[in-house]
Subunit: 130 residues, 6 copies
């Protein structure tokens, strides 16, 4: 695999832990090329750039995903990513609350409920580890 | 006017300078109620909340507005807002580059070109002030 | 709570019955602030305005939600709201059929099927009450 | 032309006056088939249906078009259509204000400003006729 | 029923087999008019046109549905339609991979996973027939 | 520059002629990195893939861009690209007409009018060359 792939995989695992490998496996079962591109380009190239730290990137990802409206699986994943990168639960919710202004209530409400599920999963995993 | 209005107006002016008053005037010429709500709710209520600082809020706004795709006037305004709140030009562009992953190239390209215009305006104003 | 909250809660219950409290509880379990804002702003402020009656507002809500495409839980809720406010089943479906022109068939079809579920729920509840 | 075409053309002219023929001409200059379909299907078929009166349909159109976000030329046209069908200026603005909740502020603000232009055009034409 | 209906039904069955009748039945259970329009207009009128063959139309449908983001049930159906009209599995996936550029990763990933399910269904049915 | 860049630039020029260099220059004036990524990833990587020929890719791009609704500058460019890659004017319009079903009339109408402008530009350039 390419250097971009290795870099992307490292960032994916840093943000999402084992979920990174599950994502690659699920997508790769349909199209290995899509899975490879998904590692190399957004994570190996975009997230690997300087200029914003990974916590800022995750909060911006939550803002963008909330506004898309149709991206709840990705939003749940990036809630975990944001928490894993050091954002607080309050910051995660705060970004979604701010997005009410841009995305409207339906998109923001669906994002909030999805974030609630992801936060519960995160808490359960942390509690099991403790 | 309400306390929410005063708080919102203060935040609007802090982020956008004279553009805040121009926005209120333009919108208010069509609907004074819409203009009032636009000050009171997103700025007097959402942006007035704790949990994220105003620079983070502006970067998240840029992320969300890029993903909406149809919000270029607002995106230009929030580029000014981000710079006014202390974000660097590089951070503004970096958020838009990251959003390629979520919004796709057309939305991100249109956002980038709009941001370029706003940054030029900002530079010209700062240079005129100096 | 504020006057806006009380007014919003009254409108919510008038439109959605017990579902209003369930919505507030579900959203509030993740973020009490989001739940409060959801009562105060769209219902306590926007729906409390004059100029359109509540039946017209619910039909317009259905039109807008159909065009968003990603708002099926909210669409189901507002189908109940429209019927509760005096719209007929035929009017509810007619709005969605008209939106084919603006939203395209996929968004309109998904809205229609969601509306069908909500109408069945509504009928079952009315029949149980009788 | 078909019966659907004649019916659609009559409804288009009733809602939009001379703008109906201008629309057909502009679209027809690129594709006569698209122009014909645009008359026959949304207007000759959907708007010709019973169940909602033409004023209600125009208000629902404004709701939907505001939520699409990318449909400002169509929104301006339907503002004229709504006024022509008997809606008041206040109702037109009220629908857009309500859509803040669903479409978010950027889409609603852009719709409001476009509606303001259409209302000014409408007023100027009425004043010239008087 | 009209000539348009018969033509549309024939095209629907050619693309989707028994699923065509199931779709009409599901939609028709909520609104017989919507179901009729769904046969007559997109299939009896648009898909019946010359200028593109049915395989090209199905690939373009996949491109458009991927970019909508909120149309996964329709996307699954058109994956079957594309395969039924002679497109290869590789072409179906290739269109979705290309759309990463326009729709962004979340919409493209959700489309890819939905397409994977549809392809598995298609394979299972073909294998059961053999 | 990378091999991906060279491959992407060659494809860009093959599809869009001098417009390729103008695009890179305009985007690069705001962000050289965005311009490079825009060459390397969608064109150097996605369009360079096998499985669909370049004419099919351009028709799918038109389908997707029509459904996005907010991508008229890109749609005009890809109309030129489609014609340059051997698609006929009739095929270009036919894709947009088909997308009425998925994107709705406003998005399809705006795409059609933008395509009409691009076709006129194309004809004028061809006529000037003759």
């Amino acid at each position: 695999m390419s250097e971009r792939y290795d870099r992307g995989l490292a960032i994916l695992r840093e943000h999402f832990g084992d979920r990174a490998d599950a994502l690659i496996e699920n997508v790769g079962a349909v199209s290995p090329d899509f899975a490879r591109i998904n590692v190399e380009f957004p994570f190996g190239e975009l997230y690997a750039r300087e200029g914003l730290d990974q916590t800022q990137r995750e909060l911006c990802a939550l803002a963008g995903l909330t506004c898309l409206g149709h991206a709840l699986p990705q939003l749940k994943l990036h809630v975990i990513g944001a928490l894993q990168c050091g954002a607080t639960e309050a910051q995660v919710l705060e970004v979604i609350i701010q997005m009410i202004a841009y995305a409207g209530f339906p998109a923001a409400t669906n994002a909030l409920l999805a974030a609630g599920e992801a936060i519960n999963t995160w808490r359960a995993e942390r509690s099991a580890e403790a």
